[in-house]
Amino acid sequence: MNPTLTIATPEAVMFWFMAPLAVVAALGMLLVKKAVHSAILLAWVMITLAFFYIAQGALFLGIVQVVVYTGAVMMLFLFILMLVGVDSSDSLTETIRGLRPIAITAALGFGGLMVSLIGRATLGREAVGLEVANAGGNVQGLAQLLFSTYVWPFEVVSALLITAALGAMVLAHHQRTVARPTQREQAVNRFRSGSLASAAGLPGPGVFARHNAVDVPALLPDGSAAPSSISATLKARGDVIDSSAYQLDNVDTTVTEEK
């Protein structure tokens, strides 16, 4: 009745090329320190899985994998990473003593069990392949199932999606506990708190007309650099140029105190 499954050479080549890469990327996801790098490696694993789906005759799932996972879900992950702070790298110190060896031992046991189980189990019949099931088109076949056998789960899932969207909105909604300060209150606070120097605004970067880039700190009257003229992010990154090279030579920078 059904033809037995034969896998063509191109698919085998694709599999042996992509599968080790996917496993290496997944391992790298565990080992890299920065969350952004983990996200990029995970995106690669998901693209590999999309290849596998399409190779296995699941055309619709392959496209959905790219659109939904690598498109929407990974974008959401990166968005939240930007919101929470890209610099928040994981502290790799163990908080529970001996957790890592136990986890790795358990994983080796679990993985070995799964792999040996798959290796020993047989279905008792030949693999069939999707040629017959996909004869009228993969999308058409899926639609037929989705809107006949699975129409009730389909509707329940749509309700779940709407509930999740509402839940995310409720969770992300931020209720103010105090009234937003008016411009007048902000101005008053600026003059009352700290020094009058900060009330007038921070000094801008750059030295005279010689170099006005944002990474060149302004010079104070005594010739030293003004740290408040540079953005804190640039300072943390170390992208600050020494501005003393742009000093005017014929300006007397010695400070004489007036009595």
Partner: protein, 99 residues
């Protein structure tokens, strides 16, 4: 090559994801590892759908994707809420119930 090789890859990816959930401390990375586990199970479903010549597995994998999308939306909203109150995305810092 036989189609069971896809099952081995799925099992390995699932195991790696499970280790990541236990070992990593950043809540976002933990979430990504959960996604990896869901993806591995999807690969298993698709492979069995091919072995059996039956599209039901692909429909279930499609439902899994929808559930994963819901889970990510709510989970990331929870992470943002925790981050807003604790200024941290580490799962060790959300330990009020322990004390």
């Amino acid at each position: 090559m036989n189609p069971y090789n896809y099952l081995y890859v799925a099992a390995i990816l699932f195991t790696i994801g499970a280790v990541g959930v236990v070992v990593r401390r950043n809540a976002i990375v933990v979430f990504m590892c959960v996604e990896l586990m869901l993806n591995a199970s999807n690969l298993t479903l698709t492979t069995f759908s091919r072995i059996n010549g039956d599209l039901n597995g692909q429909v279930v994998a499609f439902f899994t994707m929808v559930i994963a999308a819901c889970e990510v939306v709510v989970g990331l909203a929870i992470i943002v809420t925790i981050f807003r109150s604790r200024r941290s995305s580490s799962i060790d810092d959300a330990s009020l119930l322990k004390r």
